[in-house]
Amino acid sequence: MKHRYLPMTEQDQKEMLDVIGISSIDELFADIPEKVRFKGEYNIKAAKAESALLKELANLADKNADSKKYASFLGAGVYDHFKPIIVDHVISRSEFYTAYTPYQPEISQGELQAIFEFQTMICELTGMDIANSSMYDGGTALAEAGNLAAGHTRRKKLVVSEAVHPEYIDVVKMYAKGQNVQVVTVPTKDGVTDLAKLEQLVDEETAAVLVQYPNFFGQIEDLTKVEQLTHAQKALFVVSANPLALGALTPPGKFGADITVGDAQPFGIAEAFGGPHCGFFAVSSKLMRKVPGRLVGETTDEDGRRGFVLTLQAREQHIRRDKATSNICSNQALNALAASVAMTALGKKGVKEIAIQNITKTHYAKQAFEKAGFEVPFQGAHFNEIVVKVNGSVADANKALLEKGIIGGFDLGRVNSDLKNHVLIAVTEQRTKEEIDALVQEMGALYA
């Protein structure tokens, strides 16, 4: 077998077999019982040479409508944002992407320092004391926050707003089930968490209250009230936040959040059909030793030079085994690096400017829809998403919009029967006035 990834020559093989003292490679597999031994080769597609495979897969990719060619108004947790070109240049450095978890700090200072910087940037944006090195994504980060709260408070009930991303709620329920924790959902009113209902549902059995900021409908929750209701019962206050929105919005830490989680996808990470993205997990200092996943800390070597190491590992599965705070091992390190580069490029001024642009453009779109006669049912403050009521099938309209080079918004009827014929429209800084006008005009024509 000659293959460009396999350097073994016949000569090598002969010399190696001699050293081992056997005459064929088969002897190395003699301990596999005859009954379970696989004979022959897998019945899978034959190998393709580089050029032919590139061509085949490029054709496959071209069957998809991508946001480079289409104007996308689809958000609902995954967004088409400006991605600085340098992000890919940095994460393509193979010293980063061909390494694994930095177990040997002397030859992993690059990765460790980059993660330390990531932790710092997440703390800055969220207003929290401590951030970990990443989680799989925003949904699993929120679910782990629920489990942390249940463990910390020794209470068995999570109260989750129905204005949290529905797929995140599903994941919270999954993780809670594993720990035999009950999940109760709070209905919404006018597109935000119904605070009166929330007050009824939070009690001394409640481990945590989980809300999203901005919420699934793009609306900005009244975190001051939610915090009061939550802490009145000594439950933990958990906020799932869009980190890019925090460039302009008051951070959850300032509202007294105990845990802030979310997904860093808006910072330089490809939509990639839903993954890999990059969860983040930030807490107030009192929860430091309960945080799941890896933490990078600063220390010194014997000559007093500053360096970075994985730290507080007594929380983790490879030390604690069945007593660990979480089973997470591999995380999303490379995407945390991508997010760091994007946050660095945007910097102090850029995160604010980009967040303000999102609000401004979404405001423009809202006015344009209203002018065109559409109802925008939720009139509270928004970030970069609004809900528009239409008088027909959203799915059909979206198919028609594709023909016009537009990826339409999210059909809310898919997840909420009360919101049939409602579409969630995301307007990021990437959308031009022309594209917004075209969307409103096309939808006006489709729903005329």
Binding site: M1, H3, L28, F29, I44, I107, Q109, F273, K349, A381
Partner: protein, 486 residues
């Protein structure tokens, strides 16, 4: 590389510099404060860096120079399968039609992506000998937990609610017991015998009507094939439990033995290991789970199905365990794994395993007289040496690992598995040449000599890295987990 402190990005920031340019706002400006409730507009800016684009590139290039990857040099980190990461994978994953598609687009507009996922599932079904595969889990540990939740749902559906225990060998990866706990099970440890394999007597003793599952890595973490796998399957199935395959070591048995044929009911794979993910400095990974027919109803929702020539996500799964992750898994990693499998083909994957195992056995034989070899038989893709002999001379395995850094190598996994004293777990993979293996063996043999003749040089290693051994106690006792302005 010099030994000066590498400044943090926050330490080279200067007010007024920018590293970006956004297009001019093309809609009318508004007073954003007036659109937000009182107190919602951020009043204190996040202290992010203010640097130019060149500053950023120099900073991260300097960091990358302080990092060792597979492309830098040999990386025989046992259990992690640090093989070459093909560059074509990176190109394909960045095709706009794969990188820039949204998970909630109309299915008609993402048929190419769904076709790739479906075909990858088909390939993984054949490779594992399972009946169905889900791509939803994000990494190996996530896959373990997903499969355990399915096993739990299976038992519950049978009214079998007394099955609260998961058995794991003492040599198991730490994620196994941790995943069992997170899935609500109690972990029971089964001992290894004098040959490094699961002790069948002990397994018979701990298995019973309360057994939900046995989690097993085969070959195990010592790199040894569990020869009695069929008896083990019989014991576990005999008491009504399920057999779970931890796919971390699949690189050892591709085309040689399939989990499905060994009696396993479910399996997770680490696409970032066996199928060249890459490892990304610690992730993202991808941890698909394969199952036998009786677990199919419990698969996470949605399930990707093919109807005529159209692909669609099936959400109508009444017995599903639910959703373990938003959307459909780490698609970008799955694209890379698919590209790799298609680059190798059936004969290629067979050669991968044969050469991985040949390389490991060759190294083991070259090193056996210089170190203790606790289990002397043919290994699979990795083997475990013990530094007992060197420890008696006052040099620990940790010291030898640090000394390897001076030779430009990433050390093996050390102090694992837990049942080997001063363990060193070496996994060369198939993509390394004989010359590389020889040079590494020579280095390790030289270190063994140094331990006898000049132990200080090993005890005080490393000598050539940008930083010496770091004070980990200080890091844990006085945690500094973020930068703060002095």
């Amino acid at each position: 590389m010099h030994k000066d402190n590498q400044p943090l990005i926050f330490e080279i920031t200067k007010e007024g510099r920018v590293g970006y340019n956004l297009p001019e706002l093309d809609v009318p400006e508004v007073d954003v404060a007036s659109l937000l409730p009182e107190g919602m507009l951020r009043d204190v800016e996040a202290e992010l860096p203010e640097v130019s684009e060149l500053d950023i590139m120099r900073h991260y290039t300097a960091l990358s120079n302080r990092n060792h990857g597979v492309d830098t040099g040999f990386y025989p980190l046992g259990s992690c399968t640090m093989k070459y990461n093909p560059k074509i994978n990176e190109s394909v994953a960045r095709f706009p039609g794969f990188a820039n598609i949204h998970p909630l687009q109309d299915e008609s507009s993402v048929q190419g992506a769904m076709e790739l996922m479906y075909d990858l599932q088909e390939h993984l079904i054949e490779i594992t000998g399972m009946d169905e595969v889900t791509l939803q889990p994000a990494a190996g540990a996530h896959g373990e937990w997903t499969a355990l939740m399915m096993i739990r749902a299976f038992h519950e559906a049978n009214g079998d609610i007394e099955r609260t225990k998961v058995i794991v060998p003492d040599s198991a990866h730490g994620t196994n017991p941790a995943s069992a706990t997170v899935a609500g099970f109690e972990t029971i440890t089964v001992k290894s015998d004098e040959n490094g394999l699961v002790d069948l007597e002990d397994l018979r003793r701990v298995a019973g009507p309360d057994t939900a599952a046995l989690m097993l890595t085969n070959p195990n973490t010592l790199g040894l094939f569990e020869e009695s796998i069929l008896e083990m399957a019989e014991i576990i199935h005999g008491v009504g439990g399920k057999l779970y395959y931890d796919g971390a070591n699949l690189n050892a048995v591709m085309s040689k033995a399939r989990p499905g044929d060994m009696g396993f009911d479910c399996v997770h794979l680490n696409l970032h290991k066996t199928f060249t993910g890459p490892h990304g400095g610690g992730g993202p990974g991808s941890g698909p789970v394969g199952v036998k027919a009786d677990l199919i109803p419990f698969l996470p929702s949605p399930v990707l199905v093919k109807e005529d020539d159209k692909y669609t996500f099936d959400y109508n799964r009444p017995q599903t365990i639910g959703r373990v992750k938003p959307f459909y898994g780490n698609f970008g990693i799955n694209v890379r794994a698919y590209t790799y499998i298609r680059s190798m083909g059936p004969d290629g994957l067979k050669a991968v395993t044969e050469y991985a195992v040949l390389n490991a056995n060759y190294m083991m034989r070259r090193l056996e007289e210089h170190f203790d070899l606790p289990y002397n038989r043919h290994c699979k893709h990795e083997f475990v040496l013990s530094g007992r002999r060197q420890k008696k001379l006052g040099v620990r395995t940790l010291d030898m690992a640090k000394r390897l850094l001076d030779f430009g190598y990433h050390p093996p996994t050390i102090y694992f598995p837990l049942n080997v004293e001063e363990g060193m777990m070496i996994e060369p993979t198939e993509t390394e040449s004989k010359e590389t293996l020889d040079a590494f063996c020579d280095a390790l043999i030289q270190i063994a000599k140094e331990v006898q003749e000049n132990p200080e040089i090993v005890q005080n290693a490393p000598h050539t890295t940008v930083i010496n051994r770091l004070d980990e106690t200080k890091a844990a006792r006085q945690p500094v987990l973020r930068y703060s302005k002095a």
